[in-house]
Symmetry: C2
Subunit: 355 residues, 2 copies
């Protein structure tokens, strides 16, 4: 009855190690309960991979990735590299390379608040209540992948912000398709009043919009979007944007969900899906058992839903998170001082509650 | 006793017309009260200039600018150009050109909440109370001014994100000097984990930091900064960042001040200062007498303070705004439904109250 699937787990750096083990345990529990057969393999990437092999994305990990049906990833990055901008080999190169190699051009980041976290955000509850946004962030183009240069005398440095028509088209179609199944509103974010790449972006989205006359299209400048997102998050349904602007807006939007520790993302393209929390490696709390495992667990839910089409299983996971929160269990990052019925747990205790 | 100064007023587009007249009236009142002699000239720029001359920044305006001691500007932009990304001549080019031509490389944006607007924001009052941030946004470099290209077949488009060492140095020094007069904390925002231009930025800031051992320096990635800014605005004192990231962060930060309609900015460099509200042309409400004139009035205060060194006069203006707010007068954008003692006014009535 069940399905057979191969899942690659890449914990990565910092709290990635602690939280990803919980995403994996939840997948194992789902397999057992729903009679699926998930087989797991593990790969290294990022700082841990540099330490072990000198390469942030060893060939072996990439090969394992290609052979898997879906990938559950943790986080990447290390303060050592952040403090020394002259280092040539960097953890993030591993993540950027795997996105490119696997053609993961669409990064989906659903932003929705669990009812019980209404007080955990810095934003007023009445502004948040009912907000439900699905971000489509382009993931394999933009200034992330354009040519990088340093002048010979090292006194100037540049990155090329570049978009190709086909890159905008394919993600725009995915975003419009999703908007059709939701509230039928799409907001495309760019900086077309200044950037040529954004003007191309806008032209292409305007064209694709004609194929979806049932979806209402709006174009917004990134500066305004960064403001509107916290002023009135309810005005957004699907938000479509480039790699850099998407990076910024989705982190900002984490406040709408109460905390970064709650947000999962799915990177998809033409083949394998790649699932990861939005939060980073958070080295300041790594190894202390304090990190919130919910984003990894919710990434596992996205994996079940999007890569395997297992909607009931995904819902079961989300429900488990919801119930855990309703019972008052919180990790540090989502704790408030507003209710007496709050119990602050560490990573493992929180993971176990959901399980 | 008083000073003699020449001020160029450039109302620009949309609500720029309505609000800038109030900034000017306040300057006139200050001159009268404090026995200064301000002479005013007026210039055109943006969509209005394109309509009149075909050029978003006519030479005549630029010449007037060079001859003035300070410039009070309104806003720029028009929906016509936003909806048609293929248009070659665009209003924003006027603003970008004047920034470049006058060497206005440092854009200062102070973010501080007037006590009476604590309820006007979407962010919780307890998160906002006491927040006081001074942004230093680099204004004549970055992807704004790097080479723009469109491929011949028009299927790809690019902008070069580029920074030169001297550009980072000069604004970093200005920001550190300011930090010294404040809480002695500086946060430099970049994306050094991905961008080469950001790695140069970080290297240079790390170097300049050594000249200011009394100031505590922190480096933060833009995605994290966009999140921290609303999660915990009080952690920031001086924020130093590039042109694009500064554009995004300062608009976002407007929520900390209650509304975009409250925020003024000063663009300075080696000579003349240029003062403008952060808000844009807002064509949806232009000509209706609804726009908030306070950002223009506060821009006039910044002009008095920074360009003319007239601190008492600047304080008088800020005080007038404060008193007006305390009396319960609000424009639409800063109105809340929390107090019965609120009186909603249009642009002119609000301007007159401050006057
Ligand atoms: C770690 C970093 C390279 C990455 C990005 O900027 O894409 C991260 O911030 C993310 O959003 O996935
Ligand atoms: C109008 C536009 C070109 C401008 C910018 O992006 O710099 C504006 O948003 C600003 O912040 O002054």
């Amino acid at each position: 009855m069940g399905v057979e699937k191969k899942i690659l787990v890449i914990p990565g750096d910092g709290i990635g190690q602690e939280v990803t083990s919980w995403g994996k345990k939840v997948l194992e529990a789902i397999a057992e309960n729903f009679k699926h057969k998930f087989t797991f393999d593990e790969g290294i990437m990022g700082h841990v991979a540099i330490e072990a092999t000198g390469d942030p994305l060893p060939d072996e990990t990439l090969e394992k990735a290609r052979k898997s049906d879906a990938i559950l990833f943790g986080a990447i990055g290390h303060a050592k590299y952040d403090n020394d901008p002259t280092l040539k080999v960097r953890p993030e190169q591993g993540l950027l390379k795997i996105r490119k190699e696997l053609g993961l051009y669409a990064n989906l980041r659903p932003i929705k608040l669990f009812d019980d976290l209404l007080q955990a955000s810095s934003i007023k509850p009445e502004i948040l209540q009912g907000a439900d946004i699905l971000f489509f962030r382009e993931l394999t183009g933009d200034v992330y992948f354009g040519e990088k240069k340093r002048s010979e005398d090292r006194t100037s440095a540049s990155d090329l912000m570049i978009y190709h028509k086909y890159e905008v088209e394919r993600i725009a179609r995915k975003a419009y398709e999703a908007a059709r199944t939701r509230r039928k509103k799409l907001c495309s974010v760019d900086k077309a009043n200044v950037l040529e790449a954004s003007r191309l972006w806008r032209e292409v989205v305007q064209e694709i919009a004609k194929e979806y006359p049932d979806v209402e299209t709006e174009h917004m400048f990134i500066d305004n979007a960064a403001m509107q997102l916290i002023k009135d998050p309810k005005r957004f349904d699907v938000v479509l944007t480039g790699n850099l602007f998407g990076d910024i807006l989705t982190d900002e939007a984490s406040q709408i969900a109460g905390s970064m520790g709650m947000l999962a993302s799915a990177s998809v393209g033409d083949a394998i899906g790649f699932y990861e929390p939005i939060h980073g490696s958070a080295h300041d709390i790594a190894g202390k058992g304090l990190a919130n495992p919910l984003a990894s667990i919710l990434s596992a839910a996205l994996l079940l839903d999007i890569s395997f089409g297992l909607k009931d299983e995904a819902q079961r996971v989300i429900k488990a998170v919801d119930v855990t929160l309703r019972q008052g269990y919180r990790t540090m990052d989502i704790a408030t001082k507003h209710t007496a019925n709050e119990f602050i747990l560490g990573t493992d205790a929180m993971g176990a509650k959901v399980l």
